[in-house]
């Protein structure tokens, strides 16, 4: 804590604002990215990159809700890009016969509970990936605890349009997720 105070004293206005925003917004942004990319280190990387972009962006002068929405938007886009890249790399390896086709999750020899949890996470991510990007973001944000106003600002929608986008997203998610569910129940 002392460290932060010392820094704050020699930082100028925008730099202090940047630091302040980082300390307050990082935890939830990290959590959001972790849900998407499924890894804490990678989530940190994504959030760091978003803040790097913020350091030089005019949006830093805007009110905090706007900066928060901007950061969420950048974080989600960066997370999606990483997953896209990862999926392509995995597909290349599979084609070359250097990787067993599958989800890429390595359950290792952990307890059964964590294996099941991993399998469930893979199924959820696969279903989410089937949704159009905006629906995916809307669904993820809502069920990560963001309000309609925050979702609207992040996805650049009118607040009145969040409900209909969310309803569509959840129906599409159900359709993408349930077939796997039924398969699992049948075996």
């Amino acid at each position: 804590m002392v460290w932060v105070d010392e820094r704050a004293e020699r930082l100028s206005g925008p730099a202090r604002k940047f630091d302040d925003l980082f300390l307050r917004l990082y935890p939830r942004l990290h959590e959001l990215c972790h849900r998407v990319v499924g890894d804490g280190f990678e989530a940190e990387d994504v959030v760091q990159e978003a803040f790097l972009r913020l350091a030089g962006a005019p949006v830093l002068d805007r009110p905090e809700e706007e900066v928060g929405a901007w950061l969420r938007r950048v974080c989600l886009n960066l997370s999606y890009n990483r997953l896209r890249w990862e999926r392509r790399a995995r597909a290349r390896l599979e084609r070359a016969g250097r990787l067993e086709p599958g989800d890429g999750a390595d359950p290792g020899d952990g307890p059964l509970g964590s294996v099941l949890r991993l399998e469930e996470q893979v199924a959820v991510r696969r279903a989410l990936w089937a949704l159009p990007e905006r629906q995916r973001s809307c669904l993820l944000l809502r069920h990560s605890g963001y309000s309609y106003a925050e979702i609207a600002e992040t996805c650049q929608l009118a607040v009145g349009s969040v409900g209909v986008l969310l309803a569509r997203a959840e129906r599409a998610f159900r359709d993408a997720y349930q077939p796997q569910d039924d398969e699992g129940a049948g075996t």
């Binding site: 990082y26 990290h30 849900r35 949890r117 993820l140 309609y148």
Partner: protein, 111 residues
């Protein structure tokens, strides 16, 4: 009140509607809207449970957040100190680095 649109019903379920009381009164009287709301509620519950399965064990603690801020580095701050440093750079060094980058990467180089 007229029947609710899908978006209005979805917002009502999350208690984020414009007029929750009017929507509630309408639902009490309209079986079609009730049925539509039930479907939306079921989908929402499924999505909530699914996204909850992705939740990390916990949020980063304050110390982890500060460590992450430290790793990001101070050099990137839009601070006047940083800009000053850049301006105070000896012109010779700046010219050297410009020459180096242009001689190695310039596409207009004759060879």
């Amino acid at each position: 009140m007229r029947c609710l649109s899908e978006g209005e019903l979805r917002a009502f379920i999350d208690v984020q509607g414009d007029d929750q009381a009017a929507a509630e009164a309408h639902l009490a009287a309209c079986p079609a809207c009730r049925a539509a709301a039930d479907e939306l509620r079921g989908n929402a519950e499924l999505a909530a449970a699914a996204v909850a399965a992705l939740r990390p064990a916990r949020l980063p603690a304050a110390a982890e957040t500060e460590a992450a801020r430290g790793r990001l580095g101070a050099a990137l701050l839009p601070s006047p100190a940083g800009r000053q440093q850049e301006q105070n750079r000896p012109p010779a060094a700046a010219a050297r680095s410009r020459r180096r980058s242009s001689s190695s990467t310039s596409p207009r180089s004759p060879r």
